[in-house]
């Protein structure tokens, strides 16, 4: 087992990894930027090294500084968290070449599945259904128009190096296709360093269902069921639940086995997620694979009774899959709400700044993964996620009721949060029925009857 791990991340996920390490008796080294001096992950780690100025490009994305810190700290392994360098094959390769264990899949697997177009090719090869689309990268707008005409509008233009819902443009006709083709290439170049795009059939208002994969270094690959991530705002997930209200045992078996087949075919190791789109007729199509731990790993943990971060560390240290993970069965229902420092009453404008008072809900079946605390200053340089609330209930209804109760208790002053937005969703009939799709949030917010639930007025004088 490792003696010391460097956590190459920040915020709630850095805290998550540090907690897992502490429980395993592993010493932790946090790296941080100037803006994160007072961050909880820095305070709770055994050691901490400042690696640069506030902007991510000056700190959390600086491979050389992170590796220097790893050398100075004499670590055995590095956990990349999610985002930042987690799916950067170059980083994984550098870590491996320094004889430090990268807690994740091998760099060549990250490379293969990180290229969205190559991943589709791997899926096709493994006999996994993929959305109809271009056979690889589309070079010119004329080619784009040809492909789109063949597969039929509407289509989605996607960056091969994209992810996290960025570098995408929908097109409903040839005019918007040509325009979208060029603007997607521009955005892709800027955001991901390469302008290459491919084209997929756009499934209108699909369900986004993803499967959790866990694989050890001894060839054992299992899936831990699905998560429904269809509740999205501008292609960003906001609420996730496990199990999915639209997946029955038969579909779960079919999709799960497909996910395992694909993971196995690319030699996957450690944790990963295979994302599918499911249409109205319950037909599923491979969309992409995330070769890292996800933000919503939490709900799978609660339903399948395991600690995925600890399992990541165990797998990376060479251990076979834990029996309780290999034979995990789902029990009860879990929902996660991502709490962002944004003002839902003001078009979700970012709301960084000092949290004057912070009180998080508790009680039975409530889990909070957050690095926020009273007096913490939310920096403006990074994503706006300040915490995740996860509720567990024996049934889906009780998990929803519990989330509604927990959100009403949540008390944060000094900054605005998206708690009122989530509270409104928990009161939505469509959500309660479980019949929502990726168009749900937009429909709900443009409805005349939509109302944010005002945040708790006070908790103390």
């Amino acid at each position: 087992m490792f003696e010391k791990v460097l956590i190459a991340n920040r915020g709630e996920i850095a805290l998550r990894v540090i907690r897992a390490c502490k429980e395993l008796g592993i010493r932790t080294l946090a790296v941080y930027s100037d803006a994160d001096v007072d961050s909880l992950h820095v305070q709770l780690a055994d050691e901490a090294i400042c690696i640069g100025a506030a902007p991510s490009s000056e700190s959390y994305l600086k491979i050389d500084r992170i590796m220097s810190a790893a050398e100075v700290g004499d670590v055995d392994a590095i956990h990349p968290g999610y985002g930042f360098l987690a799916e950067n094959a170059d980083f994984a390769e550098v870590v491996e070449s320094c004889k430090i264990k990268f807690i994740g899949p091998p760099s060549h697997v990250i490379q293969k599945m990180g290229d969205k177009d190559m991943a589709r090719a791997c899926a096709r090869k493994a006999g996994v259904p993929v959305t109809p689309g271009s056979d690889g990268v589309v070079q010119t707008d004329k080619d784009a128009a040809k492909v789109a005409k063949k597969i039929g509008y509407p289509v989605m233009i996607k960056a091969v190096a994209g992810g996290g819902g960025r570098g995408m443009r929908a097109a409903h006709n040839e005019t918007s296709l040509i325009a979208g083709f060029h603007s997607a290439r521009l955005e892709a170049e800027k955001a991901f360093g390469t302008p290459e795009v491919y084209i997929e059939k756009l499934i209108v208002n699909p369900h986004h269902i993803e499967f959790q994969i866990v694989a050890d270094s001894h060839g054992r690959v299992v899936h831990l069921g699905e998560r429904d991530c269809s509740i999205q705002r501008r292609n960003q997930k906001v609420i996730e639940e496990c199990p999915s209200p639209i997946v029955n045992a038969g579909l779960r078996k079919k999709m799960g086995n497909t996910a395992v087949k694909l993971a196995r075919s690319v030699g996957y190791e450690n944790t990963g997620t295979i994302e599918f789109l499911v249409d109205e007729d319950r037909r599923f199509y491979f969309m992409e694979m995330n070769t890292r731990l996800q933000v919503e790993h939490t709900i799978t943990e609660e339903v399948y009774g395991c600690d995925l971060v600890k399992e990541q560390i165990r797998i990376a240290s060479g251990k076979p899959l834990s029996p309780h993970v290999a034979h995990a069965v789902p029990r009860s229902h879990a929902i996660q709400c991502r709490i962002n420092a944004e003002d839902p009453a003001n078009n979700f404008q970012a709301s960084p700044g000092r949290i004057d008072f912070y009180y998080a809900p508790g009680g039975r079946g409530v889990r909070i993964d957050s690095h926020a605390y009273t007096g913490y200053v939310v920096p403006p340089y990074y994503d706006s996620l300040i915490g995740k609330i996860i509720t567990i209930g024996a049934t889906r209804d009780s998990a929803i009721d519990r989330m509604r109760r927990a959100l009403d208790e949540y008390y944060v002053t000094g900054i605005k949060t998206t708690v009122p937005f989530h509270a409104a969703i928990m009161r939505s009939g469509e959500f309660r029925e479980g019949k929502y799709d990726t168009g749900f949030v937009e429909r709900m917010m443009s409805s005349e009857t939509f109302q944010l639930v005002p945040p708790r007025a006070h908790l103390h004088e």
């Binding site: 100037d34 305070q43 901490a48 090294i49 400042c50 590796m67 810190a69 700290g73």
Partner: protein, 144 residues
């Protein structure tokens, strides 16, 4: 902030021999400067309060009465005062430096990086410890 608070700050400055105090909060800005003729202090980035692998000292207000400028580390690595174990240190207290003077080496990933002063003056204090790790922003030297 009222007069009582400002008086308390002035006392604190006197006690710790500080020349300048500056603060900004919610649009209110206050700057207190000791006597005429003092040069402004260049504020240094503070090392974190959390335990660090580098064991860098927290950059508290300087005990010296004359203002100094900090040379801070631009990278993470190991600090060396000389080019090799038996060579003389690049600089010492009292050494005159200009922008291009090499003041130390920071070794990162087996690469020896020569660090330049990027300021001019006289070395007032060697803050970092020889062959000990330093982090980004950590104070290496103070220059007067």
């Amino acid at each position: 902030m009222d007069l009582k608070d400002i008086k308390a700050i002035i006392d604190l400055m006197k006690k710790n021999d500080l020349s300048v105090f500056e603060m900004e909060k919610d649009g209110f800005r206050l700057r207190l400067q000791k006597g005429p003729g003092d040069q402004p202090i260049v504020t240094s980035t503070t090392a974190p309060a959390a335990a660090t692998a580098a064991n860098g000292p927290a950059a508290t207000a300087s005990a010296e009465s004359a203002p100094t400028e900090d040379i801070v580390s631009p990278m993470v690595g190991t600090f060396f005062r000389a080019a090799s174990p038996d060579a003389a240190p690049f600089v010492d207290v009292g050494t005159k430096v200009n922008e291009d003077t090499v003041v130390c080496i920071i070794e990162a990933m087996k690469v020896m990086n020569e660090i330049k002063a990027e300021t001019s003056g006289v070395i007032a204090e060697v803050v970092a410890e020889n062959s000990k790790p330093v982090q980004f922003g950590q104070v290496l030297f103070r220059v007067r």
